[in-house]
Amino acid sequence: MSAVAEMPIAAPATRKAGNWLLVATVILLSVWVLLPIYLLIVNALSSPEEVTAFPKRFFPSFDFGSLSFFINFAGVGRALWNSVLVATLTMILSIGFGAPAGYALSRFDFPGKGTFRFLVLMTRAFPLPLLALPLAVMFIRTGLDDTAIGLALVHTTLALPFAVLITFSLFSGIPVELEEAAWTLGCTRLQAFRKVILPLALPGIAASAVFAFTISWNEVFAAAVLTIENRTLTAFLLQSLGESPLYLKFAGGAALVIPALIFIFAVRKYLFAMWGIANR
């Protein structure tokens, strides 16, 4: 507002038009993102008959027919369990490897540090479909195909760059003097990390873990290629929803999107920090 007030050149009409444009853009973008989610939720919470009916109700009827049918659909329970298992493994692996890497990047100077950071980001530049076939062949040879740990390894590769970058910015935000003070007060490096750095970094590490979980939860391509029996929810829905009735698709979609949305909303502050935007 102050920026606008400081520009006396702009006539009131121009300013008004500018405001309208801003509001319109915001509305358009919000609708673009929110409308599909709205439709998804409305339909998921409607009875199977209402989903195909017209006109739509603005508020859903809160009929859990579609959802309960979806939950009881053969294989959904198992796929849901697989998704949680793979996502949890991905989360553990990403933080297990990512947090030490982020700590090293923030605390130590070593040759090739800049290149390393760049390479971490570069891993995101390879399209997964390009890697999927050789990966599948290799997984079959090593017996990792169709296992939760095998898929979790692939998902970790996807989540790791973010885990490294989030924890890097997290540890960089903790003054090194706090650690040094702990050393002079009788701590070993490990004790100082555990007693001083970890308590301060824990909320951010948790956020980074949730983000890794979400990446795995949402990932469909590798899951579809690398699993047959032990399908995750995404792969399962992709495979079976093609032939399913519409209301089942909506229920499945909602079951996938809602947890991911909640997770990302919970950790948004740290995701902004990852890109160097100050926490606001």
Partner: protein, 346 residues
């Protein structure tokens, strides 16, 4: 009993040499100040003693024990950092108790020591607070209390007062001096503030470009600078330097004045005098007044002497105007001479 001996310690960062073979011995319970401009290596030297930096060569001994390969926690030191480094996730009590708990002292002893040091630093009413609820000065007190509670042989302080405002700094300075003298520890204190150094130190080590130029008592450093740098760095305004030309062996001409001086085979050396050590009179250095700054108790007069700037602190009642020609007589016992090539005192 903790004498600190630094023996031929050097530190190189890649191609840059931060410290050139430093030798310094600090007596038990001595208050040693490392003084120098930023980048002179004083903080690096302190961090080497603390064990936060590894020397490229040389030895560090504390209390007759070689410590340069030991981690900080095994050196019997405590450190106060410039930005205080008070742990934000712990209360003031737990901050002060942190090191004591690491030593696995009994709860009773922890409480006794925390209470005693908190009283000493006047923060006993803050023990339940967190760092975020404290002012800069209070955080500073917590940091000092945390170091004192360890009852260390050596306390290392890295510019502990430089983040405080001027008035608070003055107050804390006097308090620190009293508290540290009573604690019977050996102290190394790093600062760039010469007033702080003069007022606190038993001995000042003046550092410049990775060397210790002079290590002596504050008065000695002020009166008898070992090198031109010390004279120009310490004192506000700093020492005046004027080129001197040999007239006979042991006799030198300085700005139209012939003075007895050191015997030297050099043809040109430098004459040096503190601004307060000259008197305006009928005899003395030829000076033309450029700027007059009345300071209350005395007047700072900036003059031209032999084409260079010369600052003199004169009686405030002296009737002087800009452009006046003055004769400034140096006090004979305060004159110092420097070799312009080595910059060392003669």
């Amino acid at each position: 009993m903790a004498e600190i001996a630094i023996k031929q310690v050097a530190k190189r960062f890649g191609g840059f040499t931060a410290l050139h073979s430093i030798d310094l011995t600090i007596a038990d319970q001595e208050f040693m100040v490392l003084l120098g401009a930023s980048g002179c290596g004083k903080t690096t030297l302190l961090r080497i003693v603390a064990g936060l930096e590894t020397p490229s060569q040389g030895e560090v001994w504390i209390g007759g024990r070689r410590v340069d390969h030991l981690p900080p926690r095994d050196r019997g030191i405590a450190m106060v950092f410039q930005n205080y480094a008070v742990f934000p996730h712990l209360t003031v009590f737990e901050n002060i108790a942190f090191g004591l708990r690491m030593k696995k002292l009994a709860q009773q002893e922890v409480e006794r020591r925390v209470t005693r040091t908190a009283e000493l630093m006047h923060i006993e009413q803050l023990l339940k607070r967190y760092s975020g609820q404290l002012s800069g000065g209070q955080r500073q007190r917590v940091a000092v209390a945390r170091a004192l509670a360890m009852e260390p042989d050596v306390i290392l302080m890295d510019e502990p007062l430089s983040n405080l405002d001027a008035l608070l700094r003055l107050e804390m300075r006097a308090e620190l001096k009293g508290v540290l003298a009573a604690s019977e520890t050996t102290t190394i204190y790093v600062t760039h503030d010469q007033v702080e150094a003069m007022s606190l130190a038993d001995r000042i080590a003046v550092m410049h470009q990775g060397h210790i130029v002079q290590a002596a008592s504050p008065v000695e450093v002020y009166r008898n600078p070992a090198a031109r740098f010390v004279g120009s760095f310490i004192g506000n305004p700093p020492m005046n330097f004027i080129p001197a030309t040999k007239t006979a062996n042991g006799s030198w001409t300085v700005a139209g004045l012939t003075l007895p001086g050191p015997k030297s085979d050099k043809h040109k050396i430098e004459f040096a005098i503190r601004p307060e050590d000259v008197d305006a009179g009928d005899e003395g250095l030829h000076a033309t007044v450029r700027v007059i700054e009345p300071l209350g108790p005395h007047t700072l007069v900036t003059c031209d002497v032999e084409g260079g700037l010369f600052r003199a602190i004169l009686e405030s009642n002296a009737a002087i105007a800009v452009g006046d020609h003055l004769r400034l007589a140096p006090k004979a016992d305060r004159i110092r001479w420097f070799d312009p090539e080595t910059t060392n005192a003669l």
